[in-house]
């Protein structure tokens, strides 16, 4: 996993509440058994006017020019700005894989759905929860100012807008893993002895749950 330290980029405003993971990456693309290659189908049903299928030639697609990702001023953007309850619905990790594969490393929203939120961290994406007011402020700026960009300083937990910076909250452990680009399986396995110890006691307490 790529380390996440400081990040700056153009803000892409996606002005919809309750964006679900079916919208982020539609089901026909979940048939892939890989983690990469989903970026071209991120928000497929909003981004294109025709129906998409896996392994389709991209150059033949009918672009929906009204959709934010297709507007020239947001091309190359790496910070997604969203509304409340972003990422609700299915647990599919293909959603953060698609976001990352497209090139987005940061998502800012007033709230996120639980499973999506934790899936982001496993893939080096930083989801930042900011107040409704502040996100609204950023929405207005990104809609009105060309190439409106933000800078994210994860170490100091700050979103920097020019001269002003705003604090955001994040779990220490999640922050540490992102900063170091760590795979948490390796970290958990450092507790191998604790897990074994727990398991042997657990087997005594609840013998019907672990059978040899």
């Amino acid at each position: 996993m790529e380390k996440y330290k400081r990040h700056s980029g153009v803000v892409i405003p996606l002005d919809r509440a309750n964006v679900d993971t079916d919208a982020i990456i539609p089901k026909q693309f979940l048939k892939s058994i890989k983690k990469t290659g989903f970026g071209k189908n991120l928000f497929d049903e909003w981004r294109y006017r025709d129906h998409g299928e896996p392994d389709q030639d991209e150059s033949t697609r009918q672009i929906n020019h009204e959709f934010v990702l297709n507007q020239p001023q947001y091309k190359g953007g790496t910070i997604l700005l969203a509304r409340e309850n972003f990422g609700c619905g299915s647990s599919r990790e293909h959603a953060p894989w698609a976001i990352l594969d497209y090139g987005i490393r940061t998502i800012i929203a007033p709230s996120f759905a639980d499973i999506f939120y934790s899936n982001c961290f496993k893939n080096g994406i930083l989801p930042i929860t900011l107040s409704e007011e502040l996100t609204q402020n950023f929405f207005e700026k990104s809609l009105n100012i060309a190439k409106f960009s933000l800078e994210i300083d994860l170490q100091h937990q700050k979103v920097i807008d020019g001269e002003t910076s705003y604090h955001f909250d994040i779990d220490d452990f999640k922050k540490y893993c992102l900063l170091e680009g760590l795979d948490d399986i390796g970290l958990t396995l450092k507790n191998e002895n604790d897990i074994q110890l727990f398991e042997s006691q657990y087997k005594k307490n609840y013998p019907w749950l672990i059978r040899e």
Binding site: F173, T188, L189, L209
Partner: protein, 464 residues
């Protein structure tokens, strides 16, 4: 100290406290073909071992065809995914109910059916509707693929403690009001993000009155209220349902287990972070009209007017009505219905099929309906229904009687809506494109879906 059911189960699984989270032990890991291949790749890539193979049961369900599956999967990409599950199960020595096994079915139907789901367990699956298993007084949560890999390798999950919410559905649910209506009414009340960060315990007389199938329907929909876990306390119904199922403990272990399970209820004075009370007697048959499960009203209701809303809600309503091609103030009973889908991990169990068949009996599907299909939740549900003659009731009425799988709930296989079609569906999500690009989903109970097939529109089943 008085504890909630969630706290009781959580506490007994804590391996270790971490800085701001906990390492918790996982008892049961259910696996399907869509969210597992990348996890197995990770295990191989890092040369790790699977911690406890006997905790795992795998089943293909999302991609499987519901017609002529004996002939194999026609879609080559779907076939690769199902074949990959097969080869991973062989390579790692995992128990799998393969596509043509009678025990195959939707993962959240077969878990309880086989007795793989037990009270007090922590249960995970790379699928958000894992909350279903909470109906048995278990802590069951959907996880992403990275977490699937984490559980494969460590038997543990790193989690924060959830907040607790008790939703009391008091009184008696009127006739024809099913668990699905209760679930949709709750979501309409607290919203799709109302349960975010919470484990919801459903309680109250109306919940006690529900069968295990009904409780599964309710807990299944907890995720649509934003809650990763939904649960119901253990009672005699829980224990009677489980008795003698293939994977439940037998003999002395069964007796020991029952004694333990009876304690899996929230203590009388346990404090919840939030308590919500609903009157079951006021719940009417529910129908969703929009593109989020919270966009719901009753059969006697009307499409709401977005202009009476403000801010982001108004915007969402406008977007939803545009997608659904519905006008404000239209009676719900005037919504056109093109297709009917009875199935999914929400409503494909034997009881669901029985109550739908009761409505369909000796009637015919309306001419205006392009397709009405019933997709049983598992091979065993299908067999039981056939034994009871339910298949004939459906077939005689003009329904298609299919083979088990997720089917049109998410349309990963060939079963899907065409653009612009309205579907009365017993599934769990009415998101844009969920049942097929441009498809328009209306979530309802099995009885309401059955009636929509017969009358060609939504009708008040209480008045039939």
């Amino acid at each position: 100290m008085a504890l909630t059911l969630y706290e009781k189960i959580f506490n007994r699984h804590v391996v270790k406290g971490l800085e701001d989270s906990y390492l918790i032990y996982i008892d049961r890991h259910l696996i399907h073909e869509v969210t597992s291949p990348q996890a197995f790749d990770g295990i191989r890539l890092n040369k790790r071992k699977i911690w406890r193979t006997d905790s795992i049961v795998a089943v293909p369900d999302h991609n499987v065809p519901t017609l002529d599956r004996e002939q194999g999967i026609q879609d080559p990409i779907s076939k690769i995914q199902v074949d990959t599950l097969d080869s991973n199960c062989v390579e790692f020595g995992l128990n799998q109910f393969k596509m043509n096994d009678t025990r195959q079915g939707i993962v959240h139907v077969i878990g309880p059916e086989q007795g793989l789901t037990l009270p007090g367990m922590t249960i995970v699956c790379g699928d958000s509707h894992t909350s279903t298993h909470g109906a048995f007084g278990a802590l069951a949560m959907g996880i992403g693929t990275s977490e699937v890999e984490h559980v494969l390798a460590t038997q543990c999950l790193i989690v924060r403690k959830l907040k607790t919410m008790q939703i009391n559905v008091n009184g008696q649910a009127p006739k024809f009001i099913s668990a699905k209506d209760i679930a949709l009414a709750i979501i309409g009340h607290i919203g799709t993000a109302g349960g975010t960060g919470y484990a919801i315990e459903f309680a109250g007389d109306a919940i006690k009155d529900l069968s295990m199938e009904g409780r599964m329907t309710l807990c299944n929909m907890a995720i649509e209220a934003g809650a990763r876990a939904g649960m119901v306390a253990v009672d005699d119904k829980t224990i009677n349902y489980l008795k003698d199922r293939p994977y439940v403990p037998q003999g002395e272990l069964w007796e020991m287990a029952i004694k333990d399970w009876k304690q899996l209820v929230s203590d009388k004075d346990a404090a919840f972070d939030q308590v919500i009370n609903l009157d079951a007697g006021l719940i009417e048959p529910q129908v969703t009209w929009g593109t989020s499960p919270e966009m719901v009203t009753s059969i006697s209701g009307f499409i709401p007017d977005p202009n009476l809303q403000s801010g982001s809600k108004k915007k969402s309503y406008l977007q939803a009505l545009k997608y659904m091609n519905l006008e404000p103030n239209l009676p719900i009973s005037d919504i056109p219905v093109d297709r009917v889908f009875i199935g999914s991990c929400t409503n494909s169990r034997i009881e669901d099929l029985r109550s739908a068949a009761e409505i369909v009996k000796s009637k015919k599907v309306a001419k205006s309906i392009k397709q009405a299909m019933v997709v049983p939740g598992s091979g065993l549900v299908k067999m039981q229904a056939e034994k009871e003659g339910l298949d004939q009731i459906f077939i005689n009425a003009g329904f298609e009687w299919r083979q088990p799988g997720c089917s049109m709930c998410l349309a990963m296989n060939a079963d899907r809506l065409e653009s612009g079609e309205h579907c009365a569906s017993t599934s769990n999500r009415n998101f844009e494109g969920r049942q097929g690009q441009g498809g328009r989903t209306h979530l309802v109970s099995p009885e309401m879906a059955a009636a929509a097939a017969i009358y060609g529109k939504f009708v008040d089943i209480r008045k039939l």
